[in-house]
Symmetry: C2
Subunit: 135 residues, 2 copies
DNA sequence: ACAAAGTGGATATAATATATCCACTATAGG
DNA sequence: CCTATAGTGGATATATTATATCCACTTTGT
């Protein structure tokens, strides 16, 4: 019932990027130092963000990463999902899982609603909102 | 980012109890059979429910467990908390944990709000509500 | 006395989260 | 072209947590 450490790393990374002039490239190593995140682990994390289309990367000398979208167009739910995959507060809410008592089970819908409420709160917060608060 | 299996066991156990005439004692073994839950594991789960004051237990012959309160007075959040302890969607929301950047961190409040939204949805659903839907 | 049923501690097993290692590929710049 | 740099990707290690089992004990109705 907790976001993973990696998810927070991802959020802080996105914040770090968003606090910079648009289009600026930042090296993963620099982010790891500034945020106190193990660099090798952060690399993996960035790959997930990249796969989700939240950051663009550039290899080689002068490389690094940058936001793929404007901070206004990225919300917290996007980032959490990028790292944790589809959110499912219970096994039966995972895509593809079929529970035999699904039809008669009163628990599943309640969890689904609670989960929706959670996600909606995250969706309401854009990266830009967060950066603003930070200042 | 998921409730544990044990938490669902607890919820289903409470539902099982609530679907009975008030005050009736049910044996853990029976519940485990009817719900397909490993009995030894369910015993531990019941102890947590008991500790949280959600069920009353009686030992020995003709013993078993029963609801400690009316189904109307128990909500889903109560049960989840009974098993998982205080809910904290991130480490900094755990009671007692102090994060050095807490004061300037814009992430923490967002997660706190999302968590509150989640809990509120669970609070809105009483055990009685769920049993009703089941029928 | 005896069997039933919850209590509690110890342990085993599996799954997941976190972290590290290292070989590889792409790229800017000399 | 060479080289240092920086992301890519696979394999592995370690720690933590979730799930499950074992068993000795206590309580209690008959
Ligand atoms: S029993 Fe209900 S809550 Fe549990 S997995 Fe099946 S549908 Fe979901
Ligand atoms: S950095 Fe922010 S979100 Fe992360 S633990 Fe500290 S307060 Fe919480």
């Amino acid at each position: 019932m907790q976001i993973t450490r990696q998810t927070e790393y991802a959020i802080r990374t996105m914040l770090e990027l968003a606090s910079r002039p648009r289009g600026e490239v930042l090296q993963v190593k620099i982010i790891s130092e500034r945020q106190g995140i193990p660099v090798e682990f952060l690399k993996k994390t960035v790959q997930l963000l990249s796969l989700a289309g939240l950051v663009k990367t550039r290899r080689g000398v002068q490389g690094g990463i940058m936001l793929a979208k404007a901070p206004e167009d990225v919300n917290m739910a996007d980032i959490v999902k990028a790292i944790e995959g589809p959110i499912a507060f219970n096994i039966c809410l995972e895509p593809g899982y079929i529970c035999p008592n699904r039809d008669i089970c009163p628990v599943s819908p309640v969890l689904a609603r609670a989960q929706a409420a959670f996600l909606q709160e995250l969706k309401r917060e854009s990266l830009a909102d967060l950066v603003k608060k930070h200042d």
